[in-house]
Subunit: 371 residues, 2 copies
């Protein structure tokens, strides 16, 4: 499956902050065919550093999509049955308008002139894309991590536009610990003199700070167990400790590599804006009443969490499940056993595939979509 | 209890790396009185950023010791019964020789010329202090976190010099995840241009990098629960989101404050050296056989861990307990219930006090120390 990105521009987008973006570009990919009734569309919502290239092999880069193990013919999101859409989020750096995009007022990148955005802003722009594609009602919205936040936001903000939602390894509001990890990442970037107040485009950029932020992220995406299994205390290309500050352990080598690699593919200001959007995320808008926030949702729900995920622990999904059940919503919940930590939704897809496949099929049947 | 630090200098200390330090200074404090039989001495081993000022009020700074809630008249380490000693670790920056000390060969601070040290090196220097104080056998060695590592090392390296050991919230070898968090902290320091290859004494120093490292540390010392209880999503001196990159949340304010405050009291190079010593820590010396490593210990053991400590989780203490029991050693273990995460050994001292008090009393009785 060779895939290509598509592009659409909208005149303007009003934001939660009160600011307006004019214009706004969205980059997206689609897989499979939209049926005549336009009833088989699924919107995939990517996590923090993801992009529109969710599945197949990119014609441009030759690389597989970030959820290619979940999307495709015969897979969980079966492109022989469903029309699957994935767009890069607002604030991103992979085609959709973000801080590295050109500010039409100045002809230069927005940088820190870019307005602070929210998860609801991301979803508002996705709704415009769905309108543009002529889809009244999505069969499902689905995503892990920040994708789960967007999925939940969809059900609350546009209850009549989504038949089903699949929030995976997510939460209903960012916790103090989640905010704390994001804040340290932001501080690492902004402490790098090469960040230069965000005005680094065309220059070097805060490579060191961004790499530090990414290293912190990677630790939180893995579990204690998975790090032990993958690295343990294995030394890197040596038999004894170096007694210096070069790399001793495999895990050090891995983190440095991942940090450096990330710098080449992600914009530091997007890191700031997207983490801020996550930290602002609270589906109750500060009221604290999850049941009230979810009261007017009309979707079915499938929530999935993973036993070893300590960044978005199961109890956070379970709170959503309990609130939905308290309002007699149609909700299924699976806690899947995995050692992979938060990364599980990307890598441990065996059981996840079965659960998602069944849930989508029953939703599609209920809507009369199956012949 | 007003306390004063004392000081002793030794001619030389051989290190695991093969290097030798000449001379070596040790700063320490003592509380209570050494009895005539010299049988009531307890050595307290401090954690990563601790110092010799464990208890009482410092005559110099007016500040209470870092474990003042555990050490003093009538407390867990009862200074009416016991003679309590605490020294600053090798590699530290609070009086004992470390990278900020003057290198006698150059007349300038060692900086990165300081040799890489190990937990065993720290303990070797402590043994010299105990020799100097004329104590043949310690009633107990006790400490939390890195203090627990030192306590364990004491029982293995000097089995006939310790009657009892109390490793709290510790481990027998640093795990991949523990190494990873330390490595990111080191990278944050070394990425700061003001680190300048470690040669910053007399100058500005890597204040930003060190603050980032400390922020990461603080997150790992607390638990998800304790951060939620302490901060939740409370905003800092505002009622609405700022929609900028200033401080929104209390937890952000706390982390920035803690980071900045730390810079004033701790040396960045000590941060590098001490974290490296922890990462090198493996009581089995790489053999992986904990039972074999502990075979020749002669102490009684009391291990304590805390339910919400995810940095040094209970299972790591339990592995030590199981290995000791497998060799028929005298070992007690308490997993204490606490929401405070790794910080619990410093702040949640109610039950810890009871457990430690009883264990010390029975040890002292067994040795015939009680009248």
């Amino acid at each position: 499956m060779i895939t290509e990105t598509q592009h659409v521009q909208f005149d303007s987008l009003g934001l939660d902050s009160g600011a307006t973006l004019e214009p706004v570009d969205v980059v997206y990919e689609t897989y499979g065919e939209l049926n005549a009734e336009r009833s088989n569309a699924i919107l995939i919502l990517h996590a923090f550093t993801g992009d529109a290239h969710a599945a197949g092999v990119s014609r441009k880069t030759g690389k597989p999509g970030w959820w290619d193990n979940m999307i495709g013919p015969g897979k969980a999101f079966d492109t022989e049955k469903y029309f699957v859409i994935c767009s890069n989020v607002l604030g991103g750096c992979m085609g959709t308008t973000g801080p590295s995009s050109t500010n039409p007022k100045t002809g230069k990148p927005y940088a820190m002139e870019f307005p602070v955005i929210t998860i609801a802003d991301m979803v508002r722009l996705q709704r415009m894309l769905i309108d543009h594609l002529g889809i009244d009602r999505l069969l499902a919205v689905a995503g892990g991590s920040m994708g789960a936040m967007q999925a939940l936001q969809w059900t609350v903000d546009y209850p009549d536009r989504v038949a089903a939602a699949i929030p995976i390894a997510g939460t209903w509001r960012h916790s103090a610990q989640q905010i704390a990890f994001n804040e340290v990442g932001r501080q690492a970037i902004m402490a790098d003199p090469d960040w230069n107040g965000g005005d680094y485009y065309g220059g070097k950029g805060p490579a060191r700070g961004l790499a530090i932020a990414r290293m912190i992220g990677h630790i939180t995406y893995m579990s204690d167990e998975s790090m032990r299994e993958k690295f343990g205390r294995r030394l890197r290309e040596k038999e004894k400790f170096g007694f210096d500050f070069e790399i001793d352990f495999e895990v050090e080598s891995y983190l440095r590599y991942r940090g450096t690699q990330f710098v080449g593919r992600f914009d530091a200001n997007s890191y700031l804006y997207i983490t801020k959007a996550m930290d602002y995320f609270d589906i109750t808008n500060g009221s604290g009443s999850l049941a009230a926030a979810l009261e007017h949702t009309q979707s079915r729900f499938l929530l999935i969490s993973f036993t070893s995920d300590w960044l978005y622990p199961s109890y956070q999904s379970q709170e959503i499940v309990n609130a939905l059940r308290g309002r007699n919503k149609d909700v299924a919940y699976c806690e899947l056993s995995s050692n992979y930590g938060h990364d599980a939704f990307l890598v441990e897809v065996g059981e996840q595939t079965e659960v998602v496949r069944g849930f989508l099929a029953s939703t599609y049947r209920m809507l009369g979509g199956n012949k």
